[in-house]
């Protein structure tokens, strides 16, 4: 046992060095993007521009790209970027929200990345730290609030789309109970639930939205179980703020209906899905990558909605109630021309107390730190 372990290690090291010998030859053919540290400076042109050939864009995902939801939507954006600009992209899936983020970021910079999109909230502090280490690389962090000279943050007003999907759900429900599977009780999720509820109430004032939190972004089984518990409580439509189509499938198995999120989930549950609130990251990725290549990048906080096309509502399926499409189009047009603002008073909280006075619109700051549910939501934020 004793000597053998040592022997085994020696062998492993030996075989490692053996392979190391042939590594550079082989990899240099297939991996032209690998450059030693410190060479990136020389790659940049006089005016800080970067040529298409030298541009490498990194993406860090919190789930696998096959999740059919959140990460899949980001990856579609990456593919769109490759197609539009012809730049090289690299990505890493399932990166946990801990120190590994830093290591992956550095590794990508080492592989020549000039711009990196980090697509989960929990990456924020690590991105901030690494952005200070590499002032020449531009970092984009999704769904947070911090910026540095070379770190921007970006997100979309998906609540606009949530409001529309709420209209569909509100018209469809017969029990007047809609189930909503949420990941975490954080402002992003709370905002979506509130917008969805307001949309549903706009066509069906009696509607109640029951919320269950799963404490995970990505866990198909857990998400599905949460949806089943809501169906057991009488919900006949399921909405979700989760990364997979688990809740959609739960609805389908029970003969109920569902509203998807992140990507068009109609294929995952064809008999249940009515529509989905979807992300369309591609245009932003193209715009920002181009800015980095042109040397015109400026740090920013990006938070746009329908007007910029970063969020959308997937086409209504045959499961959607009659007349819903017209209602949705009408509301969308109003949102676009500014005559409808989702979070405009009067808004009451769960206790019935007025939180936003009639005619007053919530500020971005207030929406970004949403920590209360509107009247009609059944659930607790804690």
């Amino acid at each position: 046992m004793k000597r053998l372990s040592a022997l085994f290690l020696a062998l492993l090291v030996a075989s490692a060095t053996l392979f190391a010998g042939c590594a550079p030859k082989v990899t240099s053919d297939t991996e032209p993007q690998q450059q030693p540290e410190g060479q990136q400076e020389g790659q940049q042109g006089e005016a800080g521009t970067i040529s298409k050939e030298d541009m490498v864009v990194g993406f860090i995902y919190v789930g696998p790209i096959g999740d059919g939801g959140y990460t899949w939507a980001h990856d579609q954006g990456r593919l769109f970027l490759e197609e539009q600009l012809g730049v090289k992209t690299i990505y890493k899936e399932s990166v946990p929200e801990n120190q590994e983020v830093e290591q992956v970021l550095r590794s990508m910079v080492d592989q020549g990345a000039k711009a990196i999109f980090a697509t989960s909230f929990g990456y924020m502090d690590y991105v901030e730290k690494v952005s200070n280490e590499f002032p020449d690389v531009k970092f984009f962090h999704c769904s947070g609030y911090k910026t540095t000279a070379n770190m921007a943050n970006y997100f979309g007003r998906i609540y606009e789309s949530r409001y529309l999907s709420g209209i569909v759900a509100g018209m469809k429900t017969e029990s007047d109970i809609i189930g909503y599977v949420g990941a975490f009780p954080i402002p992003e999720v709370v905002r979506g639930i509130n917008a969805f509820t307001l949309g549903a109430q706009s066509v069906n004032p009696d509607v109640k939205v029951k919320v269950v939190f799963t404490s995970t972004w990505y866990d198909p089984a857990k998400e599905k179980d949460a949806a089943i518990s809501l169906l057991d409580q009488g919900a006949d439509v399921i909405a979700q703020h989760q990364d997979t189509a688990g809740p959609q499938q739960a609805a389908q198995e029970r003969g109920a209906f569902a509203i998807g999120y992140n990507s068009d989930m109609s294929e995952a549950a064809p008999a249940a899905n009515m529509t989905s609130s979807v992300w369309n990251w591609g245009p932003y990725y193209v715009e920002q990558t181009q800015a980095v290549m042109d040397g015109t990048f400026a740090s920013h906080s990006y938070w746009e909605g329908f007007s910029e096309g970063i969020v959308d509502l997937a086409p209504l399926t045959a499961n959607a109630p009659e007349g819903a499409a017209a209602k949705v189009e009408e509301a969308k047009a109003k949102i676009l021309d500014g005559s409808l603002f989702v979070f405009e008073g009067p808004l009451k909280d769960q206790t019935g107390a007025e939180r936003v006075a009639a005619g007053v619109q919530m500020t971005d700051q207030e929406m970004l730190s949403f920590d209360w549910f509107v009247e009609g939501v059944e659930g607790k934020i804690e």
């Binding site: 696998p64 690299i90 801990n98 290591q103 590794s107 730290k129």
Partner: protein, 359 residues
Amino acid sequence: MIRMAKQGNMTGRKAAAIRVTAILLAFLASSLFIRILGHNPLAVYGSMLVGAFGSPMRIRDTLTVAIPLTLTSIGILVAFKMKFWNIGAEGQILMGAFAASMVAYNLGNLSRWVVLPLMFLAGFVGGGLWALLPAWLKMKWNTNETIITLMLNYIAIKWITFLQYGPWRDPASMGFPKMPNFASGAIVPKLFGIQAGFLVAILFVVLAHYFMHHSKGGYEVAVVGESVDTARYAGMNVKKIVLTALVISGGISGIVGMLEASGVNHTLNASISAGYGFTAIITTWLSGLKPLVVLPVSILFAAMTKGGGYIQTVYQIPQAAAQVLQSMILFFVIGSEFFVQYKLVFQRKKSPNPQEGGQ
């Protein structure tokens, strides 16, 4: 008929042959798998090495993973030597980090020379107490330590998550659930670009070696592991030995939590333990419960993790496939241990004496 028989004294050469075969088979099977994925196996292996050791930055990152693996393995080793199956290092890491963070958040503005030693101590106590609980339960009611330590992991994870969403949420985070970052006095400094915790890791490897092989305490732990009855017969206080060893075992994991929170993450959250508590079970086992072997095994394991991560971005191999690769290598290497310790006897009419055959 085939049956298993305990291997007699195997010559070093034969055992080595088995292991070499295992490694060759591992590479062969992995190569096949890489080929199926459509890549050149040699190029992929080369890239794994580049990813782990290809530049000073990569070496630093590999060592950053190797530090907690080494320390946690040492902690687990102390318990395993006693055949106390402590699967709870993950929770002990988190509770150590919790206790250290309590110091960091309350006294973080004091001098580093005061705060860091206090955090170190708190980390040891936090992890140690979390391991003392299952040890005490086992002594008192003979509970199954594997189940209890495993379940305590989840309690620790949920406890940290509760703090993150509740009492310890950073008021400056605009409603987002994150805990504040530590003040600079509560952050373990870097040495050669790596957190200074590597000194602690090396120190504990040496201490554990001395303790296990050259001290009365280590001898007692080994005897209890071999036979509790023998230990009792020899007049040892088994209860005291088990409880003390588990406090040391969990305490070392608690120090890992302190180092990871302070030296690497600069904050506390439920994912700072990063699965080290589970991975270290493998590295401890691979080291054959030898403290001095723990260090190289942990570095190699960290290299495999980093290399596996690197090939994902270089070849766009899905994460799941990269993990299949790592698992195949482990499967063969750990599997070979079976053939070192046991042999398969093919029984015919006249069955050979299992103690003699095969030599």
